[in-house]
Amino acid sequence: ISLSLWAADSYPGIGRSATSKEIAAWDIDVRPDFKGLPPGSGSVAKGMLVWEGKCAMCHGSFGESNQVFTPIIGGTTRQDIQTGHVAALTGNTQPQRTTIMKLSQVSTLWDYINRAMPWNAPKTLSTEEVYAVTAYILNMAEIVPDDYVLSDKNIAEVQKRLPNRNGLQTRHGMWEVKGKPDTGNTACMKDCVKTVSISSRLPDYARNAHGDIAKQNRIIGPVRGADTLA
């Protein structure tokens, strides 16, 4: 590998070219078009072993646990897989939004498990294990069958079955600096509203839920913290 001087013109002496091995070691991201996805495969069956051995203690055997993080599995239907829209995202049927309800890109799931899981030992899974456990999660969500072997070859097919694949949009003004805001409040100064009523206040049972507020404010100044233990 030849080590060329970096930006020799503008900033002599600073930085250097990356070697291809270095890039390979760090360039781990997988894009929605699957650029970055390493070749390989893994079966649902093998994924179940990985899951039970390295994941279930936090996420539950069915990805349903709410102990360490919000549930991964649940809230999606066969119908959703058809439409690519998770119906439960409208209305109040589902108590929490699971990961699979929100997920619009299978690349995201693969990439994230590969880079960050298991939470306490990230970047320790083999490529096969990542394929396998991703397959198993997809299987738990009934997106792929029990005998499925997920691979770089068929992952684009899976994408087409993600329950919420059509659920994300960018029709808003909050990405671009010049984007159009949702609301248009006015800077009225006098007699702006007739009556004001209180629509919500802290419930009494929650008064001390954040600890004694008296101990969270300065002991001098214009105010004291309310003694919420009293």
Binding site: P32, P203, G221
Partner: protein
Amino acid sequence: AGVAARARAQDIGDGDPAILNLPEHSKTLGLPVASNPYGLPSRYEKNLQRRESPGLTRVGAASVSFCPLQGMFGIITANGLHFERHHQGWHDIDPQQHRLMINGLVKNPSVFTMDDIMRLPSVSRMHFIECGANTGMEWGNVAVPTVQYTHGMLSCCEFTGVPLSILLDACGIDKKRARFILAEGADGSGMTRTISIERAMDDVIVAYGMNGEMLRPENGYPLRLVVPGVQGVSWVKWLRRIEVGDMPYATKDETVHYIDLMPDGTHRQYTSIQECKSVITTPSGGQMLIDKGFFNISGIAWSGRGKVKRVDVSVDGGKNWRSARLETPILSKCLTRFNMDWVWDGGPALLQSRAIDETGYVQPQMRQLREVRGTKSIYHNNAIQSWQVAETGEVGNVHVS
């Protein structure tokens, strides 16, 4: 009102013992300089610290600690109080071993040590950082008592570092094809975020300095991205890599989190900008006014789209407003401190602040946001906050309609 007030109001006879009897520190020798080579706050300030909101998250290493805005002044956040948000915990990493890689659509994929980065041209700029989920707990009913928990995923510092544009230019960025960059952290989560190339080449900083010293470990020591005006999750900590690409990366925190659920069941993706917002920090929820009489209502305002132009304050729940004094400096994508005179007559009052930024955008009412976004979008709640002052002097977090 309270005990303190009654003590002051009584006849003090010859005078206050705290004056008539000289305090010990007036009659003794104090401690030498550099007793603390690195100084710390007074022992009487222990109440002002970062805190978690119980029940918000399940594990401390994928959680947030909130900034105690209820007791803070001006616009600068002392580094010890800067809010924290980690996805896989924080580390105090060895800066001698830290590297930044730039790859993708550049002529010369490169590696930089911290030595390299700190030799490059630097800028120093003051910017706020706000988590996209700040004030998220207010979308529904009132659930938290104080401004620390309603608005405390917010801090503001002077950052020093290399403009990202300098690094990208020097690596020979492919200007024709480059549309987005991916920023990636070195922590367990390998946090990744997509940033548009226009923004990346504008005011984004690869920063190592924060309020005159190096970044704190909790804030990404030795290197983080500063993305002015954009939600904190994009300010990737422990920054190890920038990739230049031609499409968004749809990372976990762009596809599963930091997506805003709309009433129609779709999620908005890449909602980056923190729109114009303000909040009164004194007096605020959970506080007790010590007495009737004069008060300095004080708060902060900010906008991810530029400078704050004006802040109005109402003490009657939005019926009538007066414009507050703005402290200087007033900087783009930075906090602005506002203050307003107020005499509390002992009756009930309803305090609100409303910021306007240089684009003319007026901070919305909660009702206006809900009309468009419903109540489940978690992120980007920049609604006007209401604090109710009761006759007892106690201030409560309320919603009005």
